[in-house]
Symmetry: C2
Subunit: 200 residues, 2 copies
């Protein structure tokens, strides 16, 4: 034990945060105690509330403390007959920031990973199939990550959609804008070549 | 607003932590919500308690939720007639880890910095002077940082001690063990030369 019991406990518990080791946790504890006690207490209260109140949107599974998230509750979004499948709420937020998509989402909260016990049920794919049955979708956009698991998940979901006669698309993979061909890996470059489009 | 109001608030409040920007805060929030809710709630509770309960040791001013810290409450420590002055509780912890010092401490919780309104009163130097008067000290060890402010603070405290006839020492500055002479700055090298000691 290096400090008082309560301070030791605070430093230990701060290490639950990703990327925070003993030294950073100690620095955080001292910083809050020395200078930001009111904000530290506000953080404690919000953290407590968030951990108990934030659940999942009943419609798209993203994080929200309400029954439906803002996007699912918005009738303008429902009018667009597109559904975009993403792995995480962070991916949803990244797509929202492009301001190019105005339909709704389905958040898997992960990807298929049988070794970790994550199958179709854990990703709510029964709920997704139900939505495919009920909603008259014109397009299902698969925006899972371009990783092996993300591709496998996209493949699985594409089959669900095809069985129901829904058009499926996959987001484009290729050379990132601002990147240099020389530095891009071979797989990405192959994707960018096979996915080439006519210049109009 | 990118997420639900409560989630947005959590991400905003996490940014009070030093070194945590919007991206890291988002990552922390998702990590806790997805995988560590019970530990997140434990962190919230400890943080709340720490912010309200942790005060300062009445004797040495370090952080503690008790009246006296463990070191000040230990009679073995009081028997050693040495007092070591450090700037922060983290400095105290670093010295404790050497296991070479068995006396007590005085924690300034900062250093003299008139431009920031930090004078002798803010560092509790009246309390330190009182201790110098009351305790029959054989040595006052100044372990403030080797910065301009730390040196000025050490100089000021040295005068307090000399007025009271207490022997004052300063921790050695020099080439760090494992360092290379070539890479050490000139001031440190001057210190290490002027502080040279006879080989026994």
């Amino acid at each position: 034990m290096k400090f008082s019991p309560l301070l030791d406990e605070l430093i230990r518990e701060l290490q639950v945060l990703p990327g925070i080791g003993p030294k950073s946790a100690q620095r955080m504890a001292f910083f809050l105690l020395e200078r930001e006690r009111p904000r530290g207490q506000r953080l404690a209260k919000v953290l407590d509330r968030a951990m108990s109140e934030i659940g999942h949107c009943q419609h798209c599974r993203t994080f929200t403390e309400q029954d439906l998230c803002e996007i699912c509750a918005n009738p303008k979004r429902a009018a667009v007959r597109q559904l975009c499948v993403v792995e995480t709420p962070a991916d949803l937020a990244a797509l929202e920031q492009t301001h190019l998509y105005s339909g709704r989402y389905f958040v898997l909260m992960g990807h298929l990973s049988p070794l970790d016990g994550i199958g179709p049920a854990e990703l709510g794919l029964d709920r997704l199939a139900q939505r495919l049955d009920e909603e008259q979708l014109e397009e299902l956009i698969l925006a899972t990550n371009p990783t092996i698991e993300g591709e496998a998940t996209a493949f699985y979901i594409a089959n669900l959609a095809r069985e129901r006669g829904v058009k499926v698309t996959r987001i484009a993979h290729g050379v990132p804008v601002g990147g240099e061909l020389e530095l891009v890996d071979g797989t990405t470059l192959s994707h960018s070549l096979s996915g080439r489009r006519p210049l109009e």
